[in-house]
């Protein structure tokens, strides 16, 4: 009710303000304070180039946005262009028919298509259409403390067994040093481990069919690779790879542990280098690939890559102007500007120059480009109710209250339920 | 039933000594009233007997036992509080029987003893009620019932009637007397109301500033007050007192009035500074039929009169103060009316001006 009122009010104010110069006003709804500086500059430049279009820019913080945008899209006056996470989140909007298919823009070769990475764009393909365009990517890698590795002559582990061996080596060297800092008070961090381990153990086709519930019911989530992946995860815990109390350690604490020489390694996202650097850890760490699993039937050198971007509202009365703005924001030049001002990995790095990003972030971009296969985090791609079971059961598995087999029973039960509800 | 002996009792609150040198011997079945102004130590003494206050010095015995270190419940006492202290959430019966219930006595015994107390106090119809549903007088009786049920050796009363209105107070006074006669237990009764003390007690203990002023029968303390304080405290209205000096054949009061006195009765020498006292009962207007053994007539001007029904109090200026006389025929006197007052000097009291101790020998 309230949101609807304020939206209507804002829209009518925008109309009043428009009038004389601009013929068209479009509403752009973004997420996150960290992008405000970039957006304002980009929109200023856009309006200079397109004097007949006026942009009404708004943003919300992460948590409120997740619900806010759902309400806005159900309202009478949805924003013309809006932020989404690629995966089940963006597909929900396609399912409820509020997102517009922009295959025509791709076909027309609009500005955003220049230098765009196909694999990243593909994350918005759904049911034969293209429902969105990537703005930023995020990925997740293992990080090591370079000085510690050098001092004790430690090698980067190539396989999971080597990683487990490395854990005991670190404990031998210094019992107070945590091999891998890990905080899962927010359970998506467990989810990221499982994303990669599933990737290593389960063939991609099988996994995608399970994630999207498109596999036949009797085959759904039955691949033995899942349980093997969970057993690998448990063996990391049992080998003492992690700090104590994983389930109640805040992810921020684990980042700080790594950046203050309390942990030899950590598994952390592309958003982490600025956080490490803030702790004065700059230049003293580097990324390495999550180890391969010997005998795994999945992909051994794939990685986790998630994508964020924008969708155009199906109900937009100014679809053309909205696509124009979207295309502008995702043009190679603006993507470079975004990297410089917001520090996020651009989805389109074709115009990126040295110094636009921290060195560690640039290294990640290269790694992403080299990776043959990338999967977004489970919680953005798996059907929402199944994803919730995976999130919750991850903490139970970590606490040792359920076995990998029980974990998979829960997942299968929820998947069948969700599939039957359609 | 038992005798209560108090020897050299003292009480300190921190560095302050509020009670000192209290010696008292109360015989079995005796009714003793402790009176005195607020803060005189009468309640403290009672609470020390009860065991609610620690004893700083001295001993208290009940019967043959020194009870200084016994719990209140082991002293063989029962106490009736000023506020009655009835347990508000219990019925009258449970209030009265509580001591027996917590002592684990059989139900039959509790019921019988409560019933007996209820009979004595005429409370049988109220046994199931809560204290809140009772009148002030009824609550007072329940409080006494609670004491009776315990069959104590000593009853302790702490100003039990002061929360009642005047009429009920008179009624309950009679009731307490009747119950004491019926139960016959040794009783220590604290009050600030000297009428209660005079009417109820076998002996009265008058206290002041933590010390005993006088211990005696009501007649003793009324007729032969040991100090000028007792003289002024006991009696309503109180004894008239005026400072003076002993001269040949009498005393000279402030203002030059010379009172002829037979000094041999008072055991005092010429020149002594004294207080001259005479009760209002012994000062009567001429012609109002007082049989005075040693009459002395003075002409005064009335300043005020208070008709009380059966008698009239007559106020007049005398010896630098306002004195009170008594007229048995009730009649309002005019202010300033000249009256000749007759003083019965055979009833005069002399006190030492310094110590306040009684000089008069009989």
């Amino acid at each position: 009710m309230k949101t609807r009122t304020s939206l209507t009010l804002a829209a009518s104010l925008a109309l009043l303000a428009g009038g004389a110069t601009a013929e068209t006003t479009i509403v752009f709804q973004d997420m996150g304070a960290e992008r405000e500086g970039f957006n304002e500059e980009a929109i200023r430049l856009f309006e200079e180039a397109n004097p007949d279009i006026e942009v009404e820019y708004r943003w919300q913080a992460n948590e409120p946005y997740k619900t806010g945008i759902k309400v806005m899209m159900e309202s009478n006056s949805p924003p013309d262009l809006y932020f989404v996470w690629a995966g089940s989140f963006s597909n929900d909007f396609v399912d409820s028919g509020v997102a517009s298919d922009i295959s025509d823009s791709e076909a027309a070769g609009d500005l955003w298509t220049q230098g765009a990475a196909t694999g990243v764009v593909d994350q918005f393909r759904y049911q034969g259409g293209l429902y969105g365009v990537p703005g930023q990517v995020y990925t997740k890698y293992m990080w090591k403390n370079d000085a510690f590795f050098a001092e004790h002559d430690l090698a980067v582990p190539e396989t999971l067994d080597e990683l487990i061996g490395l854990c005991s080596r670190v404990r031998e060297i210094d019992p107070l040093m945590t091999p891998i800092a890990f905080g899962a008070s927010e359970s998506w961090t467990i989810n990221h481990y499982l994303t990669i381990l599933f990737q290593r153990h389960v063939p991609l086709e099988t996994a995608l069919a399970d994630y999207q519930l498109s596999a036949p019911a009797d085959a759904l989530w039955t691949d033995p690779g899942y349980e093997a992946a969970l057993e690998d995860y448990v063996s990391l815990i049992d080998a003492g790879c992690f700090n104590d109390g994983i389930n109640s350690v805040d992810p921020n604490v684990s980042r700080t542990m790594f950046a203050t020489d309390l942990a030899a390694m950590t598994f952390c996202g592309s958003w982490c280098p600025p956080i490490f650097n803030e702790q004065g850890f700059e230049g003293r760490y580097s990324a390495f690939d999550f180890p391969a699993v010997e005998g795994g039937r999945g992909n051994q050198d794939g990685t986790l890559v998630g994508t964020q971007g924008f969708q155009v509202a199906a109900a937009s009365e100014n679809r053309e102007a909205a696509i124009k703005l979207m295309s502008w924001l995702l043009s190679p030049e603006m993507q470079a500007l975004q990297a410089r001002t917001a520090g996020q990995l651009p989805a389109n790095a074709s115009a990126l120059q040295d110094g636009d990003l921290p060195a560690e972030s640039v290294a990640l971009l290269d790694k992403v480009a080299e990776a043959p296969v990338s999967v977004p985090p489970l919680n953005t791609i798996v059907e929402t109710s199944v994803s919730d079971v995976i999130l919750k059961s991850g903490q139970d598995l970590t606490a040792g209250t359920i076995t990998p087999a029980e974990f998979m029973e829960r997942v299968r039960a929820q998947a069948l339920d969700a599939k039957s509800r359609g | 039933m038992a005798r209560v002996q108090i020897d050299g009792l003292a009480k300190d609150y921190g560095a302050v000594r509020v009670l000192e040198g209290v010696d008292l011997d109360i015989s079995d079945g005796e009714f003793v009233a402790l009176v005195g102004p607020s803060g005189c130590g009468k309640s403290t003494t009672l609470r020390m007997i009860a065991g609610l206050e620690d004893i700083s010095e001295g001993t208290i015995s009940i019967g043959d036992r020194v009870i200084n270190d016994l719990e209140p419940s082991d002293r063989g006492i029962a106490m009736v509080f000023q506020s009655y202290a009835l347990y508000p959430h219990m019925s009258v019966a449970k209030n009265m029987g509580y001591a027996l219930i917590v002592a684990g006595r059989p139900k039959d015994e509790v019921r019988d003893r409560v019933a007996e107390a209820a009979r004595i106090l005429d409370l049988e119809a109220y046994l199931d009620r809560r204290p809140a549903d009772l009148s002030g007088g009824q609550r007072q009786r329940v409080a006494m019932g609670r004491a009776i049920v315990r069959r104590p050796q000593v009853f302790l009363f702490d100003e039990p009637l002061s929360n009642l209105d005047a009429k009920l107070r008179t009624q309950m006074r009679t009731e307490i007397k009747r119950i004491h006669n019926e139960v016959g237990a040794t009783t220590v009764y604290v009050t600030h109301d000297q009428v209660e003390a005079m009417t109820l007690a076998d002996r009265i203990v008058i206290m002041k500033d933590g010390q005993l002023e006088q211990v005696g029968t009501p007649e003793d303390v009324f007729d032969r007050p040991a100090t000028s304080f007792v003289a002024a405290f006991i009696g309503a209205p109180p004894m008239n007192l005026a400072p003076g000096r002993v001269v040949e054949g009498g005393v000279t009061l402030e203002g030059g009035q010379c009172v002829p006195l037979d000094l041999s009765r008072h055991g005092v020498g010429e020149g002594a500074e004294i207080l001259f006292g005479l009760r209002p009962d012994d000062i009567v207007p001429m012609g109002h039929g007082m049989e005075a053994a040693d009459a002395w007539d003075v002409d005064v001007a009335i300043s005020l009169s208070e008709p009380l029904g059966s008698e009239t109090l007559v106020f007049f200026p005398f010896a630098g103060g306002d004195w009170i006389g008594r007229m048995l025929k009730p009649r309002a006197l005019q202010r300033g009316e000249a009256v000749r007052m007759r003083f019965d000097l055979s009833r005069a009291h002399l006190f030492d001006a310094q110590s306040g101790r009684r000089l008069t020998q009989s």
Partner: protein
Amino acid sequence: MGMATIKRRQNGTAFDLVMVAPALLLFGLFIVWPAIEALHTSLYDEPNRGGGFIGLANYRDMIADPVFWIAMKNNVLFILCNLVFQVGIGTIFAALIDQGIRRGSTVIRTIIFAPLVIAPVAIGVIWSMLLEPNFGLVRQGINAAGLPYPSQGLLGNPDLAFPSIVAVGAWNYIGFMMTIMLAAMQGIPRDLYEAARIDGSSAFQTFWHITLPGVRGALILCSLIVIVGSFKTFELVYVLTRGGPGNSTQVLGTYIVEAAFQLFRPNYAAGMSVVVLIVAILFGSLQVMTSRRAA
């Protein structure tokens, strides 16, 4: 009394209505209407699944939803534990201060009462720091005493997380309960205790027969505060464990938030809110009934 009062009462109906209108309006607008909306919404399917009318299907889902029952069970457990710890210990503390401790009782009272002035969210943050499993003060203390510390920590262990939340909640509210109970106890006349001493009542008998009946009203009040508060508890659980590990500390408050904002099932969440509302109304009317009886 008499004619004047009766007359005014008859003539004043319109006036009375005008006087209560603002309150009624606000109550209707902010309490009744949202409640009706929640009930209405709960009868429809989720917006991203078409949003059609589905009758009581959300409520049927609830009955079949194991997490809903975990949350419900935890809420009931939470109420029972909080009654025992907050009201129980608060009452015992109050009795100790009321009866025995003279010296420093103001200091003790202040220390016990202090946590109440801190917002539950801040309490949660403070305690999640104290209970941090690797570096937290609690671990350091326990280790310094030479005792082992659970390797999953306290909040990370499904068996210990719930008791830990109860303990933090108790730390938060015992002072409040103690203060209410202490005020009630100090309203009991001293001479009742003296009479009981003379009657030979032991400390426990006195507490049972004199103190407890004397503070019955306050005890009922405290219990209802705890019951209603525990039933709609949210902040402390959310900040300390977010209902985890797994769903082990899930309560209705956290599950409603999760269902609405993470599972994107706002209408299902509305249905659970309706259930909470109904239970709250039951307890609320209980409170009104007992206070009427007391009056």
